[in-house]
Amino acid sequence: MGVKRRPSTFVLKVNPILCDGFGHCAELAPELVNVDEWGYPIIRQEPTKINNAGAYESAKYAVRGCPRQALQIEKITDAQP
């Protein structure tokens, strides 16, 4: 009813078709991204708290630093109580 709810968590998502395995995301957001042996990202699947400022900042760096622009942050708002 007109109340804007703030998202509480986020997930970093990769478009695997665009991704070419540059590995910048793993450098910029090491707490969220791992790389496999070919340099493609393995991203934490469970949602991270948005007030975890360090993780959120580095996720933003990863999104901006991706040479293929394959990353995006998906914010998740809790369901209405």
Binding site: G21, G23, E27, L28, P30, D36, Y40, I42
Partner: protein, 438 residues
Amino acid sequence: MIAPSSLPRLIHQTTRRPLTLVEHEQAFSSSGEVVDALKELEASGLMGRGGAGFPTHRKVELLRSQRSRTKYVVVNAMEGEPASHKDRSLIAANPHLVLDGAEALAAMIGAKHIAVCVAREFSTTINHMERAIHERQRRSQRGPLIELHTPPGRYVAGEESALVHWLDDNQCLPQYRPNRPNVLRIGQGVVLLDNAETCANVGLIARYGAEWFRSLGTPLHPGSLLVSVTGAVSHPTVMEVAAGTPIRQILEAAQADRDPQALLLGGYSGEWISGRNIDLSFDNAALKTVNASVGAGIIFVLPKSGCGIGEIYNIVRWMANESARQCGPCAFGLPSMADDLGLLLAGSKDAGAALRRLNEQATQIEALVTTPTVSFDSFARRFGFLKTTSELTRVVGHAPALVDHALPRSRDSNEEMNLYGSKATSFHVRAQGQSHFV
């Protein structure tokens, strides 16, 4: 009119050629009771027969609510699964039933175009379909325009976004669709895509209604299913069974091995179940207890004398060759997994390392299962097969010496976090990044 709880429904054939339009109309004469086909479709609880099992009426409703000038119905008879023969058998028996269903779907959503997609390798099926479409157009020029399309028959070409991409842009490549359900588009027009068997069922529901449809099968999984049985059988067969028939009964009817080692359900992207679970009934609700599903109605029978790893190796190698080479994990990961499985199969001295790598990759893939890379569906669960010692002994029956040193070692968690450079370098890069970006 076909009597309510009687089989066969779909493959209703008296001759060795597909039914002509006149024969089809005699065999499936309508009593004209159905007034609102959409309501009947919702009441029938029909689930898609292409593998995912999504409720068809929800898909139709989503497309119905789209405000688009042009709408399309696409019939998917690509059948990229090498173990599946059901769509080809269905079209060889009665192509008009599929077209009936496509026309009913087109009427529900208001589409003026129907595209039937058959892989260009299946020339007989293409002939049957061409003939059926021609017969209909000679009968009447009214109704939606039906076209036949023949994309190349690769595994990924049958995936819905790849198929629509082909119709749109002549490229058989799957698309990235993070938010589901999402509406596929050809140009500006929206697309309702359904499997050929689903269309045939819709055709029957539009004639006889939901009550008739639900007279076979279980309440949770109504209707009949086309099952392709391959592997340890005397002849690979396609049968029509009611959902909820025990698997043992299906195997007996197909003259398959009654005491199999394992069964692969749902095709190459499906699940292995143990041969001990043969008494389960063949419907999604019962198979959920063993984490399997009906999928596209495929049963691959692995005999006691067969080698599980050998079969998995064949599947993975085949998948690696069918990759669309779009996503890294599929283009590089699958060939490497196939190589590792080859080492395991040969029982070479590197087999232990290969199994450890496979287990690591399987855990990584488990985390990636939600990504839309087609070939990776349920790979991890397939390797769940290898996780305990007893299972491993059973599978690697011919190389028992392997088992002792082949078990996976638990990994150091620190090592996992610092796969890519040490922590110090990461901080360094971040500091640079901050000054650069802010």
